[in-house]
Symmetry: C2
Subunit: 444 residues, 2 copies
């Protein structure tokens, strides 16, 4: 997944990279597989963006003995220990007590927290039960991280030259607390960088090794000062440039990234972490255009991807999900003879679907996705994984055939990404006033 071009002999590294971070995620629901461990994904990526690699994540049960033993071990080994979960009001929330025991600290009652909890209950017209008061107990030598979205506050302790951060389990409470309170505090103490650690370029439509080959001449000019990592996911590859030695400033890294972007031309999507859908949305907004979608193989996933972007009503004209020929004829006014002659899963079908979608929904652009994502292939001899994407645009309408291996969900995500990337390229060209190449030979 991650491949790195790490030149040797790079010293000294900045503080953040050598700080040992450990994450303890608590909860039987994680070990029973009832809930995905999203805290690892979130906290790992946030630390990474500020120059720290999480050293270890341990998930254990809610039992007090297990928590005591594991925390003792992590506290001895790490510089910063972050815990998630177990701060709630119920009897299986034992983290606070277990950790206080290891630290040799007393838990003391904080009346301002009680008041905040009372107010929160009052705001929602509910009555506070007595067990909620448990959440008002804090470490005698520690600080409180207020929780804007729930009752259990976070806790911050500095002791033995180390930092302990205890966060509540619900993601909508943990995530803003981490971003707004924890990251700035860690950066103040030089345990994280006070800026992003790397500049990320997102690319699409180019494989990881082709990307590396294309950019290597640029990287070579900077030798050991530059570190490069690639991460491929479902039709897109991210490239991160950093300078662990600090030999290159952030501005210099931005200049390197800009040079890479220019060399990549249309394969360059954006800097940072925006999704393909968000990039398309922004291009549509600037150009005051709207997009419609027509889906069979992706079954609503493409529409859902667009509508995940905030304010999608402005640029998303609507979508049609249709598996049967009847639905296609009825909703999109596609002639039956076309579907009978070519089949809906064909270049002709994709063109007709995209055109019908744009016209019916009054959109400037339309994407159509048809094919066999699932368990059953077509009679036409196209195997599972065969996808046709159609693109309607002010400059014309085209279709192309794609093929992906893997299970249904993989095929669907790859098809959605391919469709979004094609739209992105077309919108970028329109913005530049560049001519549209012959789509049938285009890169995909």
């Amino acid at each position: 997944m991650v491949s790195a071009h790490n030149p040797e002999g790079v010293t000294p590294r900045p503080a953040a990279a050598t700080v040992r971070y450990e994450l303890l995620t608590l909860g039987d629901e994680l070990l029973l597989g009832l809930t995905a461990n999203g805290h690892l994904t979130f906290i790992g990526s946030q630390l990474g963006r500020r120059g720290a690699l999480l050293q270890r994540n341990v998930t254990i049960t809610d039992e007090a003995d297990a928590i005591v033993a594991q925390f003792r071990e992590s506290w001895a080994r790490a510089d910063v220990v972050i815990t998630t979960g177990g701060l709630g009001p119920t009897c299986d929330d034992r983290t606070r007590e277990a950790i206080a025991e290891v630290l040799g600290q007393k838990l003391v009652f904080d009346p301002t927290i009680e008041q905040a909890i009372q107010e929160r209950f009052a705001r929602f017209g509910r009555k506070m039960t007595a067990n909620n008061l448990k959440q008002a107990y804090v470490f005698e030598r520690g600080e409180v991280l207020p929780n804007a979205n729930g009752t259990a506050p976070g806790l911050w302790v500095e002791q033995d030259g180390k930092v302990l951060i205890m966060l509540p389990g619900p993601p909508n409470e943990l995530q803003p607390m981490f971003t707004n309170q924890v990251v700035p505090r860690l950066a103040e103490r030089k345990l994280l960088l006070d800026r992003e650690a790397y500049v990320q370029l997102r690319t699409a439509g180019i494989g990881e090794s082709a990307l590396e080959t294309k950019l290597q001449p640029i990287f070579d000019r900077f030798g050991a000062a530059l570190s490069v990592a690639f991460c491929a996911h479902q039709g897109a590859v991210d490239c991160r440039v950093s300078s662990p030695s600090g030999a290159l400033s952030y501005q210099q890294l931005e200049a390197v990234a800009a040079e890479c972007a220019q060399s990549l031309d249309e394969d360059f999507v954006c800097y940072g972490h925006d999704s393909l859908a968000r990039v398309c949305a922004e291009l549509l907004r600037v150009q005051e255009k709207r997009i419609a979608v027509v889906e069979s193989a992706t079954g609503g996933l493409l529409a859902n991807t667009f509508t995940e972007v905030g304010g999608s009503c402005k640029f998303f004209a609507g979508g049609v999900v249709c598996c049967t020929n009847d639905a296609k004829m009825q909703l999109l006014d596609i002639p039956e003879c076309l579907l009978l002659q070519h089949g809906a899963v064909s270049e002709e079908g994709a063109v007709a679907m995209a055109t019908g979608g744009a016209e019916t929904l009054g959109a400037d652009y339309a994407l159509a996705v048809t094919g066999f994502a699932g368990d059953v292939a077509g009679a036409s001899g196209n195997p599972v994984g065969t996808i046709f994407v159609g693109l309607f645009s002010p400059a014309g309408v085209w279709a192309k055939k794609l093929s992906y291996p893997g299970p249904r969900q993989t095929v669907k995500v790859r098809a959605v990404n391919a469709a979004l990337d094609w739209l992105r390229r077309e919108l970028t060209r329109a913005q530049r006033g560049a001519p549209t190449p012959n789509r049938r030979t285009g890169v995909m």
Copy 2:
């Protein structure tokens, strides 16, 4: 998340429950948050279904030293250690060597694996590179778990009265290997139960505490012989009944569950792990009916949920995703005056959308979801989180108003589940020939 009613004094527990399982998930991409740790979710739930609670999951970097130290610790503590990842051909795949060192075993070359890899490359028309041979090295005292979907086989070692299982990282390779090879081997050695450990009832439309109150009289009759756990997720609550002491047979647990199901009546969804969409799909198939969907607030998620079910063309007539009034009028033939008078986000709007969807797509049933899932509330005074669901059925058409807190994605999932549950109840009633109650006062 998980609450348990665990009576005291239950001994002896069957072997599986006392076996100490640890899972080591290897890979910087997990710690950097680039990939979610789906292996924990999958393996944790599979072990749970066979009566074992995973004790610990540790995620560490790819460094050989870290792997050696962590494996040594886990091997000393656990009865079964499962590792994932690091078996591939590249230089950062160091798991095999690191663990062989701790076990004091030699790695030996297995020509039959080389042959399997060669054949796999030939089948895909690719040339095998030399580094792939690394994957043909196995423990001198161990067994090979053939990999039907990739090049790196799994490895199985029994030593020091313990079991080590090493699995490849890609989920499409790991998951069938675990289900088809690892689970049966563990069950043979009595390290897992040879049957499901619990009977699960899925419920919807009833809260966790109401559910517990309703079922408690049944549970009470079995006293300490019965263990009950609840798990709530987004509008649905699962209830698992088991008998850790073995005092109740599996058949007796099934009888308890059947009694619960009867007492829950319409709130009972199914036994096992089927999704609400799959349960609806099955009811539609049996009754030879088709469903259409019309979405604004859920933006394609409801259509996508239906089309995730295999063979959805049979029961899914199609979907329309429309944010604007124009799209609603154009695609669904909804009169402008209705939208102007009541607004699209209203009971009247939801009824019109459901009716328009059913008629346009020629479906027997239709669900419509309209509302404010995102960041912007409506002018009508309805806050963010207000959702109207419309249901068109052969028995009539109704709408109801719902309200959910939380971010967009939560509101969308809750709305989709509420819509599916309403359809499920209506289909269940139709199947029984039961009358349809007044929807506006129905449970939701």
